[in-house]
Symmetry: C2
Subunit: 371 residues, 2 copies
DNA sequence: ATGAAAGCGCTAACAC
DNA sequence: GTGTTAGCGCTTTCAT
């Protein structure tokens, strides 16, 4: 029926329905007033022509696209994916679409994405920022609005943010472990991704590839130290290691820790990638969990439950973070203020990977790599 | 410096540089010809004004937005997430942005998303379709182009698609299991999501909520039966169960199978959600893997390696599927033809969850739910 | 090499 | 209640 020419425009519909284009516009947008009969004619004509209002035309007029941008380090990471889902859920209720992209921890790439987003005239952008305060400062100037999710940039306190209460999460985990009797607890933390390049946005093509996700370094470790101190447990520098939260590096760090200090009785991994490494290393070293070592981590991802034994973890509300960030971006844009970051509570999910302190690790175990 | 008025337009730049707007356009797009000195002046003025060309204006003129739509059942599902990553990677190289949304297996929601995408005038859409041939037939008419990824709709063979060779994957798994000596292999398949509502796109607000992901039912099961038959192993209907690949339903199905037939020696789960259920049930029943039952699944997700023992699985190239689908959509739009679906190879990843056939399950094991 | 002008499809005044 | 009109910011002939 319909000739395959080009999609119908508001003008076509107007002609077909024998009305002016403004009437068509009104009939569709609901604004203004149209008589019921006219509206019906218009809608019928539109249906007949397979008419879809062009968001391009509308956007041009309104100077906004009706979409938001979402930048995460990696859509494949379970935490990020959950956060994305939260944003999608909220955006949907607000009638906005979401342009998603992954920066893979590369500040240059991130800046590039922001650029594209600005060109698209998104109504705002939500980001788990990778780095370079300067870039984001510039972005915030030119973007309608920006909100950070799960992480902040130290140099940009004025940008609204939605965060998990990481410190609280780590604290509860440490308290739990110490309550179990552990005193020598290893901390597997995330190393800061890049050597803090605070250079201004130079057009240099040098793209320092940062690692994957990489949670905000610092706050977790600080919480670990503080809680220990508060509990009168000595803090041993030797037990605190930082690694890039990537497969190999994390594995190496975990292995180093567990072999160097055969006397650790528990390991707290500050992220699921680190936790994975800890589990794998323990298995490789033939350490029984939790008999020989207790293991716990931050981020309650799916596999934590499938592990044997299931892993105790701090659940961070990734989906809620995304949802709230989107809300903050779109709904609460009214009350603009340098409000401090929204902190969402975490929850300690106790499973079977942490046990009460035993006297000593079985002799011979964990001192050498096992076949 | 820059007054916070409204973002600069091409006109502003033209004025600032003392040239016509066409020149500015040319300077930015690279098309046409501009003298080096003029281009420099233009670029300088643009930088000064923080000018970003509006994709809205360009899109309106060009009748395309420079973005594509991507519809998946659930961004949180590891397979989907990987597929999304593939699409993003390809889109990036082609300079397109990606509007992502999740349909959660609900055909109505999916149709709604397509509608929005059409309004946005996306250059094409990639989808893991949930259902309703009619909706997609309509979508294909009005969309610039559509490519299916990972699944197809039986009624729409003319829509290009990129699929994993599921049949091949299952076949290799069955051959492997049979080679190990197994004869009574349970098959945990995915039940078709909805009662096949082939109703035309009615505006009825009734939204039948389909389940999560849900792989294409049928081909995996058929491959299972065929391979068994080919290998001269009797096919027992009793060992083939279908479940919605959601937590509870899958768990129930797996439990039912394992308890009803205490003599199964291996279970093949046709998806990672089903595999998860199998692992959990086996653990609940106190069955040792692989001593009492061997377990294997389709989809090599992250936790397969963390399981104890690590799970043998068929890896399906989710990322490649996404990448190829995007390529097909954007690059190969020239050679349009009812070419048959692109099939990407799978790979059998052998780990420790499948063992040679033992004589019998230890007495008492697996006959009742264990604490 | 560059400028003027005509829209792309839409919304929002403003007339009637 | 409905039509007319003036742009929104851009690309693209077509002149020059």
């Amino acid at each position: 029926m319909a000739t395959r020419a080009r999609s119908a425009t508001i003008k076509d519909v107007a002609a077909a329905a024998g009305v002016g284009i403004a009437t068509v516009s009104r009939a569709f947008s609901g604004a203004g007033s149209v008589s019921a009969s006219t509206r019906e004619r218009v809608l019928a004509a539109a249906r007949e022509l397979d008419y879809r209002p062009s968001a391009l035309g509308r956007g041009l007029k309104l100077r906004r696209s009706g979409g938001i941008g979402l930048i995460v380090p990696d859509v494949t990471d379970p935490f990020c994916a959950e956060l994305v889902a939260g944003v999608l859920a909220c955006a949907r209720t607000l009638g906005e679409h979401v342009i998603v992209d992954a920066a893979h921890g590369d500040p240059a790439r991130e800046a590039e994405i922001v650029d594209r987003l600005v060109e698209q005239r998104v109504d705002g952008v939500i980001a788990m920022p990778a780095g370079r305060d300067a870039d984001w400062r510039a972005a915030a100037r030119v973007c309608s609005s920006v909100v950070f999710a799960d992480r902040v940039l130290p140099g940009l306190p004025e940008i609204p943010a939605v965060l998990a209460d990481d410190a609280g999460g780590v604290r509860s985990l440490v308290e739990y472990l110490v309550g179990l009797g552990h005193r020598r607890i290893g901390f597997l933390g995330a190393a800061p991704p890049a050597p803090s390049a605070t250079a201004t946005a130079a057009a240099s093509a040098a793209a320092p590839p940062g690692g994957p996700p990489g949670p905000p370094p610092g706050v977790r470790e600080r919480a670990f130290r503080d809680t220990l101190a508060q509990l009168r447990v000595p803090v041993e520098e030797d037990l605190i290691v930082a690694a890039r939260p990537a497969g190999d590096a994390a594995y190496a760090a975990a292995a180093g820790l567990l072999q160097r200090r055969a006397d650790v009785t528990a390991v707290l991994a500050a992220g699921h990638l680190l936790g994975e490494a800890a589990v794998l290393v323990a298995r490789g070293l033939d350490l029984r969990v939790p008999a020989d070592v207790s293991i716990a981590m931050v981020d309650d991802v799916a596999w934590a439950e499938l592990c044997d034994p299931p892993l105790t973890a701090v659940a961070r509300p990734a989906r809620d973070i995304g949802y709230r960030a989107c809300e903050l971006l779109l709904r609460d844009r009214a009350r603009r203020g340098p409000a401090r970051p929204v902190l969402l509570p975490t929850e300690l999910v106790v499973r079977g990977s942490c046990g009460p302190l035993r006297t000593a690790r079985a002799p011979g175990r964990g001192t050498a790599r096992h076949a």
